[in-house]
Amino acid sequence: MKKINIIFKSKTHKIESVGVKSVNSYLLNITRGEFKLRMTQVERIAIRQLAMSDAIVYDFMDLLSDIEIVPLDQPEVIDGINYCSKLGAFTKVRASEILGNG
């Protein structure tokens, strides 16, 4: 038996499917400014401080500085945020929120 996912649900209406709801591609691409605003000031400062001593964080920051639009589903972006989380810039939950859709 294949698992059924709920795609839409209200008090009176429901949509179910074996598939998964597709993410609007518009929500996966945000500006660099919007991306920074997803972090608190404390988190942004923590990342900058890490960049001074960690080559991977520096490289991630350098990458971000070169792009206008941040693709949230890009492996380099996901890895970069998760790496900063691993080093203590923010929690795993916050990393998930920063990378979240929309």
């Binding site: 294949k2 009176t12 499917s17 998964v20």
Partner: protein, 137 residues
């Protein structure tokens, strides 16, 4: 003899679908999408709409050049139950989509309680479904 005419439809009154625009696959294009439908081996639920609905777009993509089965049930009545070979990776069930203005099938499907679309492929484990469904009050 009475000249009273019963019936006459009027417009449908839409029920809430509050995130309708942001959930469209591409903002501005009036369809949503369901991905990663593994329809191999047995009839698989592509979409199951419960409640009153108006389905104005329904296209299944994938499963090119293979024999598939499509079953559509509206309010417990099977209206399509067909086995055929898919060409061009696209099976149009309802509506017209995007630039593919030659893809015309039924105008829309309406249900009082349920629309169920099931699909079975021979080998395709990642069919996608593009649709436009409006909840009716």
């Amino acid at each position: 003899m009475s000249n009273v005419i019963n019936g006459g439809g009027g417009f449908y009154k839409l029920a809430p679908d509050l995130n309708r625009i942001s959930e469209q696959k591409v903002t501005g294009d009036a369809y949503k999408e369901i991905d990663n439908i593994d329809a191999r081996g047995a009839l698989t639920t592509v979409i199951n709409l419960s409640g009153k609905w108006l389905l104005t777009t329904a296209f299944i993509y994938g499963a090119g050049n293979q024999v598939v089965t499509l079953k559509v049930t509206v309010d417990n009545i099977v209206i399509i139950n067909d086995t055929f070979t898919v060409q061009n990776f696209r099976t149009g069930i309802v509506g017209v989509q995007g630039s593919m203005t030659n893809q015309i099938s039924d105008t829309y499907l309406y249900c009082d309680s349920n629309i169920l679309i099931e699909f079975q492929t021979a080998t395709d484990d990642s069919v996608l479904f593009q649709y436009n469904a409006r909840p009716i009050a």
